[in-house]
C-alpha cells in the first residue's frame, strides 16, 4: 500500500479506490438481498438488504474504531514509557555511564523507539557526547541497517533512513547520493536536501545544477540548506549570472534574495536590461545584496527608467537601502510624477532613508503634489517618526 502511495500509479488508484469501495458496498447489498429471497416485494427485499448491510458496516466500523483507539491509546502509553526508559539510558550514557549493554538490548527489542530517542538526543547534544551517541548507533548495528535501507524500494523506509543518517557528523553520502536515482520523487527530494546540506562540492554542484528545473518550493528548501561558505555555491552563482538562460538566472537571484548575503555578480548591466521583466524585477530587488562590477548608481538610474513599474519600485527600494544620495533629486522628481501607489511608496521610503535635504523634500510633498503623493508622503513620514520613537523607547 505504501509503495502504491509513492508510485506513479497513485493518481489512477485514488480515482479507482473510492469507486471500488462503492461497488463492494453494492455487491454486499445484492448478496444480502439473496438472503431475503422469501420476501417477494423487490423494493422491500432490497430495502431490508440495505438496512442489514449498513447496520453490519456500522457495527463493524464502530467496534473497529473503538477497539483500535483503545489499542492505540495503550500502545502509545507503553511506547511513551519505553521512550522514557531509553531516554534515561541515553542521558546516563552521554554523561559517561557504562550502560551500553542495556542500550544494545533496547536497540534490538525496541528499534523504532531507540531511533526516535537517538534522533531527538542528537538535535540537543554537541561535542563528545554527540560523538559517543553516533558511535553507539554503529556499534548496535542499526547504523549499518539504516545504510542498507537506503537501497530499499519502499520509499517510507528510505525516507526514514535518510532523515536519521543526515544527523550524523559524517553521513554516508555516497549511499545517500544513490537515492537520487530512486523512482519516488519524494525520496529524490529528501536526498537532494541532504546532499545540499552535507554533501561534498561535486555532489552539491550536481544538485545546484538541477535547481532551475525544480519546483519553487523545493528551491526554497534547498536555498536554506546549502551552507553559505560552500565553494560549490559560490561557483554556481558566478556561473549562473553569466548564462543567458532566464530560468537559471531567476533561480540564482532567488537564492541571493533568500540568503540575503553579499554576492559578487559580473555583467550586471545585462541583467538590468534583460528582456524578461521577471529577471529585471528580481535583479533590482536583489541589488542591495549584489556586489556588481558596474557603478550601482548607473544601474539604478537605468532601473528607474524601466518600463515596468514593479522594476522601478524595486529600484527605488534598492536606492533607499543602499542610500545613494546622488540620486536623491531624481527620486524626488519621479515621486512627484508617480501614479502607481506601490512605486510611490518605495520612492518616498527611499527619500526618507536618504535623510537631510531629501527628508525636507519629502515633507514638502505632504502639502504639494497630487492627492496620492501627499497621502503616501504623510504615511512614510509618520512611519519613520514612529519607528524613531520606538527606537528611543
Amino acid at each position: 500500500m505504501v509503495r502504491l502511495l509513492y508510485s506513479r500509479y497513485w493518481p489512477a488508484a485514488q480515482r479507482i479506490l473510492p469507486l471500488g469501495a462503492l461497488v463492494l458496498y453494492g455487491l454486499g447489498i445484492v448478496a444480502a438481498a439473496k438472503l431475503f429471497r422469501s420476501i417477494e416485494d423487490l423494493y422491500l427485499r432490497y430495502a431490508l438488504a440495505c438496512v442489514a448491510v449498513q447496520t453490519a458496516a456500522l457495527l463493524i466500523l464502530a467496534v473497529g474504531l473503538i477497539a483500535g483507539k483503545m489499542i492505540a491509546v495503550r500502545w502509545n502509553e507503553r511506547r511513551r514509557r519505553t521512550l522514557d526508559q531509553i531516554g534515561g539510558l541515553f542521558a546516563q550514557y552521554s554523561c559517561g555511564a557504562q550502560c551500553e549493554r542495556e542500550l544494545s538490548a533496547a536497540a534490538r527489542v525496541h528499534t523504532s523507539e531507540f531511533l526516535e530517542v537517538w534522533e531527538a538526543s542528537l538535535t540537543t547534544l554537541k561535542g563528545s557526547s554527540r560523538l559517543r551517541l553516533e558511535e553507539l548507533l554503529m556499534r548496535t548495528g542499526l547504523g549499518r541497517r539504516l545504510v542498507t535501507q537506503l537501497a530499499d524500494h519502499d520509499p517510507g523506509k528510505v525516507l526514514r533512513a535518510i532523515a536519521l543518517l543526515r544527523k550524523l557528523e559524517s553521513p554516508p553520502m555516497d549511499t545517500i547520493e544513490k537515492a537520487l536515482g530512486h523512482p519516488a520523487e519524494v525520496v529524490r527530494a529528501a536526498a537532494r536536501i541532504t546532499i545540499a546540506a552535507r554533501g561534498c562540492s561535486e555532489s552539491q554542484d550536481r544538485v545546484l545544477n538541477q535547481l532551475p528545473s525544480l519546483p519553487f518550493w523545493q528551491r526554497i528548501v534547498l536555498f536554506q540548506q546549502i551552507p553559505a561558505d560552500s565553494p560549490a555555491l559560490r561557483d554556481y552563482l558566478t556561473q549562473a549570472f553569466l548564462t543567458g538562460d532566464d530560468t537559471v538566472v531567476l533561480a540564482a537571484l532567488e537564492f541571493v534574495l533568500s540568503r540575503q548575503r553579499l554576492q559578487p555578480v559580473s555583467r550586471a548591466n545585462r541583467l538590468a536590461c534583460s528582456p524578461s521583466a521577471e529577471v529585471r524585477i528580481k535583479f533590482f530587488k536583489a541589488l542591495p545584496f549584489l556586489a556588481t562590477d558596474e557603478d550601482t548608481a548607473v544601474l539604478i538610474r537605468r532601473g528607474l527608467d524601466d518600463p515596468d513599474w514593479r522594476a522601478r519600485a524595486m529600484t527605488a527600494r534598492a536606492c533607499g537601502v543602499l542610500r545613494i544620495a546622488s540620486l536623491g533629486s531624481e527620486l524626488a522628481r519621479r515621486f512627484a510624477q508617480a501614479t502607481q501607489p506601490v512605486e510611490a511608496g518605495h520612492l518616498a521610503r527611499a527619500l526618507a532613508a536618504l535623510e537631510g535635504d531629501y527628508w525636507q523634500r519629502l515633507q514638502e510633498f505632504t502639502v504639494a503634489g497630487n492627492e496620492m503623493t501627499r497621502a503616501v508622503a504623510t504615511e512614510v513620514i509618520e512611519k519613520h517618526l514612529t519607528q524613531t520613537q520606538e527606537q528611543v523607547r
Partner: protein
Amino acid sequence: MKELLLSLLGWYETWVILYLFAISTIYMVLLLTGCVLLVHYRFFRRDPEVSRCLEFSALMPPISILAPAYDEAATVRQSVRAMLLLRYPEFEVVIINDGSKDDTLRLLIEEFHLYKSARFFDKGLTTGPIRAIYESIDPVPLVVIDKQNTGKADSLNAGINVARYPLVCCVDADSILEEDSLLRAARPFVEDPEHVIAAGGIVRVANGCEVAGGRVVRVGVPQSWIARFQVVEYLRAFLGGRVAFSMYNCLLVISGAFGLFSKAAIVAVGGYGTNTVGEDMELIVRLHHWARREKKDYRIVFEPEPVCWTEVPESLATLHRQRSRWQRGTIQTLWAHRGMIAHPGYGLLGLAAFPYYVLFEMFGPLVELTGYIVTFMGLALNLFNHNTALLFFLAAATYGILLSVASVILEELTLRRYPKVRDLVLLLIAGVLESLGFRQLLTIWRAQAFWHLFRNGQAWGAMERKGFG
C-alpha cells in the same frame, strides 16, 4: 380519487427515497475519495525539515490576515494576540471593526497601543466609509480599520483595500488559528504559484477544547449535544466533501472563517459581493466564473491540515439563524450564477459540482421536508403500509448514520485530533443521534430559508459568544 391520491403519494414517496439514497451515495463517494486523498496527504506532508525551511525563507509570499469584527469584545484581544504569534516569515494583521456597538475598538486601542495612522491605501474596491485607520506604536504588524457598520462582505473589501501583501487570509475575528496554519495554508501557493488563486483550511469546533493564551491546548468534545452534532457535521463536510471537490478543482466553498486568496484575483473579480449573505461561497463561485471565462489555468484548493478553531452555536435560536443564513447564501449564490449550471464550457464544475449543489444542497431540504410530510400524511390517512414506510426510512437513516460514523473514522485514521477513547465514543453516539432528529430540524430550518430569503435583510446575525478560556 383515493386511488389517484394514493398513486401520486406513492410515486412521490419513492422518488424522495431514491433521492435520499442518491445524496447519501454521493456523500459516500466524496468521503471515500476524501479518505484516499487524506492518507496520501499524510505521507507527503510530514517532513518537518521542509516546514522549518519554509518558515524562515524570505521567499515565502507575505500575507495580510483580514479579520472583520462586529461586537467581538469578549474574544477580540485574545484572538488578535494569537494571530500576531502565528509562525510565518512575513505577515500583517488587519482587524476591521465594522461599527461595533460594544468596546471592541477601545479594547484594541488600549491593549495594542494604537494610534490614528495616515496609512495610504488604494480604493480599488468600493466600500462603505472608513472612519479611521489605527496602527500600533509597538513593533507588531497590526492595523485596525474603524468603519461604519456595512456588513461583513463590505468590511472584508475594506480590509483588502488596506492590505499591503499579495496574499490575503480572511478569517473570523473570534476564530483561533493554529500557529502553523498560515504556513500550511500558504503551501499550495508556494508549490504552484502560477495557478493557485485560493486555498481553504479546515474549520474545527472549539467548544469543549481547552484554550490558553489564544491557542487550543487540549482538544475535547463539547458538553452540549447540539455542539457535538456540529462536530460530526463539520468533519463530514470538510474531510469528505471539500477534499474530494478540491481534487477535481470543483470546490465551491471556502469557509469564511479561514481562507487564503490571491489579492490580485479578488480585486479582479470586484471583491466580496455585498448583496448576498453567503459572501464566502459567492466569492469562490465568482472566482471560478471569472477564471473559466478568462480561460485561465487556475486552481482553488482545500488543505486539510491548516486548522482554524471556531465556536459553534449551542443554542437552537442562534443555530437556527446561522443555518438559515447559510442556506440563503447558497440559494442566492447559485441563483446569481445559474448560467454555469450544466454548462459544458465550465467543465466538471458546470456539469457535476453545480448540478450537485442545486439538486442536493439547494433543493435538498425542500425535497426531504416534503418527503416527511407525505409520509406522515400517508400514514395518517392509512394510505401506506406502516412497515414498508418505516423500512424505507430506516434504510435512508442508517445510510446517513453510516456516513456520520465514517467521517469520525476518517478523522481518526488521518488527522487524529481527539486523544481519548471517550471522545470518539461520544462522537460516534452523536453521529447516530444526529440523524434521528437534529438533521430533520436543520432540514426544516433550511427549507424555511426559501421563505426568509424574500423577507429578511443581510444582517450579520448575532452570535452569542462565551469567549475562549
